[in-house]
């Protein structure tokens, strides 16, 4: 009886020691595995806003696209349902976006819109599977040489597949989820949006790193 109780207490002590000693290792291993998994294949969407004002506000957002794809369908609020955003036709001022997009998609690469005005330049083009939008806003006169200088510059570069996916839902809907999936499938680092103005610098880009700088 005495030997039996000694054996049981020894076994219990050993099991307890093993459990206490091995549990951190197991946790560490799980964490390491998931880190490796998240760093190899994930695509990250980064947003960075830097204000040039005196306080210098900085906003950095890093979102894994795979996570966004899973979270978005769970948000059902106002106009967002099942990863789709509904918009009112009246807000488009009579412009049928679907028809417009179809026209761009089926056309050859080239520059579709070029507007050069005294206060702004606008350029919309399609090239190498990307849709480019360039908007440059000018000051009326520069203080230096009297010529108009640039007040803000907006550059948008979106893969056509993403644009297609975005407009793949119903007539008055934007399929954000499909666009995210198309972005996920897009290989390579891509700068999607860049805005430079007197007040702010905004960058939205896609890569495989989980840090923005």
């Amino acid at each position: 009886m005495r030997q039996l109780s000694q054996g049981v207490s020894h076994c219990a002590s050993l099991a307890l020691a093993a459990a206490v000693l091995l549990s951190p290792a197991a946790f560490a291993q799980t964490a390491a595995t998931s880190t490796a998994a998240s760093s190899t294949s994930d695509r990250w969407l980064h947003v960075r806003v830097i204000s040039t004002e005196s306080k210098g506000e900085t906003v950095r957002v890093n979102v894994p696209l795979e996570m966004a794809e899973k979270v978005l369908p769970a948000i059902n609020k106002d106009r967002l349902h099942n990863g789709k955003v509904r918009f009112d036709d009246r807000e488009m001022n009579g412009v049928d976006l679907k028809v417009l997009l179809d026209a761009v998609r089926t056309s050859k690469d080239g520059e579709y819109v070029t507007v050069q005005a005294t206060d702004s330049d606008v350029r919309v083009a399609k090239q190498g599977g990307y849709m480019f939008v360039h908007v440059s806003e000018k000051r009326s006169y520069s203080e230096k040489n009297g010529k108009p200088s640039e007040r803000s510059r907006v550059e948008v570069k979106i893969p056509m597949k993403v644009v297609d996916a975005l407009f793949s839902a119903g007539k008055d809907e934007l399929d954000v989820l499909a666009a995210l999936r198309a972005l996920s499938a897009h290989s390579g680092d891509t700068e999607l949006v860049s805005v430079k103005s007197d007040e702010n610098t905004v960058r939205v880009w896609l890569d495989s790193k989980n840090i923005s700088d």
Binding site: S9, T35, S38, E57, V71
Partner: protein, 145 residues
Amino acid sequence: MMILAKLGLGVASTVVFASAYTFREGVIRVDVDEHRDGGSHVHFWVPAAAVPMTMHFVPKRHLSEAATHASEFMPLLQIVTAELSRYPDTTFVDVRDGDDHVRVSTVGAKLEIDVRNPEENVHLTVPLATVNDVAAQLAASAPGI
């Protein structure tokens, strides 16, 4: 004497085992420091495993009431925490505006929220598994389930 030693070993083992079990999911840490005169300073650590356990003792009607208010967000919270746990040691949001600083990040399997400004510092660390457990329990307590 031998019986006493064995009893001691049994008690010690139980305490160690209970502690290991309680802290296996980590701790919830809340630090609040108000910088004004007479401002409060709150610092507490709670074993994360205690929270889902404690929820079993909350009266059903209170839990059901809370679940009704939060039911809309519980599935979202469950998905978000499950997904966040796949990205350890990552900063998701970082906002700096002068002396104000807000950071939302994961450190290992924990969610860390840091808010620092001249008025106060707030630091919250909570294991994602705990948030997920609580969200699941609240979702299950919602009326009609």
